[in-house]
Structures are given as structure tokens and as C-alpha cells.
Amino acid sequence: KKMASKIRVVLRPVKSIVVRFCPFESNVESTRKFLGCINHKKIQATNRNCEVTADVRHDGSEPLVDVMFADGERLIMKGANLTTIEMLTALGSRCNAKELMEEQKSKKKNP
């Protein structure tokens, strides 16, 4: 229905993203697609300082997405039973919430 590449995430409040998966497992498809979508030009353009690292292992561990925000918060998504769109929307909603908070803070500082 909704294409995963159409979801736009603003990565400004994000400091780094680590995507860990084991490609020989069978439950990594959504995590790999998530990685592919995050590396899209437009999403990367929202924040050039955000480092996206892919950690390829072979120890049978489950796929994991570890997002570190600029204010120290950490979001861990276990992608074994999640779809790409769910992960993207979850990340997007949190980013938007943080953006709103920052805007409100800056407005309070400069009235």
C-alpha cells in the first residue's frame, strides 16, 4: 500500500544509526530494506552529520537497529518481527516529536 521509500524521515535530531544483522538468517529482510531506505539521498540530505553504520555479523544474533539521538536518548528496534514501514514510521514520529520540542524551546528562548 504505502511504499517504504516514500516515507520521509527528518534525521536532524539523530546523531548516529547502527544497523546490525546477520545476512545468513531469514528474518533480516525488513532490516535490510530499512537500511536501504535510510541511505536514500533525500533522507541523508536532512542531516549530513548523521553516521549510518552497518554491522554485518555471522553469529546468529537477531537484526537490530540502534539509533542514538543528539540529546542522549537511545532507540533500539529489534527488526526480527517488524516491517520496514513500521520501523520507519516509528523513527519518523520520534524525530518529529523531538523537532517540535526543539522548536518550542527555541521559541521560548527568543520570544
Partner: protein, 257 residues
Amino acid sequence: APALSAARLPLSTGWLPALQFVRRGSKAVTRHWKAMHFQRQKLMAVTEYVAPRPAVPPRCLTPRKERVEEEDNGYARLLRRQVEEVFRDNRMIAVCQYNSMPGEDMVLMRHYLRKHNIEVKFVLNEIVRPVLSQSKYKNLLPLFVARNILLVSPELKAKEMLRVLKGMPQINLLGACIDNTILSRQGVENLAKLPSLEVSQGQTVGALALLPSQMSSLLQRGSAHLTALLDEHIRRLQARETGSPAEPAPAQSSGTH
């Protein structure tokens, strides 16, 4: 008051009819779109086609499984043949995940890899999967999800390949099939750390030759010790008998050693 007394409505007293016919202007059949006559509009609205509703709405019925036909597309067949060729001809095949990369970086990467005789091939999963499932590389099947590229080469240049890929964060090495052995990323890194073939051959030969040489030196230790002692003894005897010209038997023992 004077107009409304008669039954017929006379036109002269400022009464405009509801319908007005245009005397001049466009004809019935025009090249541009002409508004329909009001009666015709009403007729068209009334006689619009209403589709018959099925007895059971389609949502309630289980959807029919639309089997994707084999199609046996010539193009698909060609691609499949190419993939088979690739797997047969090359010793090293590395599978990497491809996240969208800017064009210049792509060209640069291709250039660097070409220098080491490594080719970059874009593959479609739906073509590669049937080829793999029929060949002996079944364990490579779970790798082919999402966008992938293949780096193929007839030579084993794991170190250079890793170096090139380290500079590209958008390409992630997932695994490789080197000399019909399936390796994970760790395996490829270990392979790159190994010394070259000549060095390892030399090391093996040295290790193999070490044991017999040790054995021979052990075996000869006894007799060598004996000859050394005898030589020393002879020298002392000679030193004592200064002036005796004849050299006795010790010449034989020194000869045998």
C-alpha cells in the same frame, strides 16, 4: 393586472421563456465541446449505466491466488544464463548490499576494482534466486534480499577489495563464495589477513623439514660426541709425544665422520 387576465401568456409583457434557442452561432455538430440541450442532459443523467452488484461483495470472498506465470521471458532467460556463467567462471564472488550511492562514487569504485580485475555486476533477486536454488549454492539464497551487487573476479584479491570497500560506507559486504567455499564477512577478513601463497608454502616446508632434521641431529649426537672426544684425546696425545712423526689410527675416525 392587464396581462394576467388572459389564459394564454402573451409574449409582449416582459415574460422570458425558460428555454432560449440560439438563432445564430454554432451548429449541432461542432468541433469544440458544446453543452448538451437541457432535456438531453436530463435524459443522459437518468439513463446512466449502473453496474450490477454481485450477490456476495468481493471483500468477503477469499482472494484467488494469482500465480505469476513463468512467462519464459527471453530477457529473463538471458540474464539467468549470464548469472550461471558468472558463477562458473569466477573464483571469487562477493555479495554486497547496495544502498544508493552517488554516481561519481560508483564510477570511482568500478574503476578501482577494475584495476584489480574485479567486475561489478548488478543482479535482480528474482533472477538469481531460481538459479541458485538449482545449483549447489543453496546457502547463498538467504543473502539475496533487498538490493545487492556482485563483485566477481577470477583472482583472489581479498585485501584490495576490502580496502576499496572500506572507503565506501554505502556498500556492505555480506558474504562471499571463494573457490566454492562460502565465507561470511569475518571469513573474508581472515582470508585477507593470511600471508600470500609463497610465504605460507615456505612456512609449511620449513615446519615439515624441521622434524627430520631434529631427528637426524639427535641420532648423530652420540657418535658426533664420541668422535669429538677421540679427536681431543688424540690432540692431547700428540701434544705429549712431541716429535713422533707417525700419525696413528685417528686419521681413520676423523675420516668416517
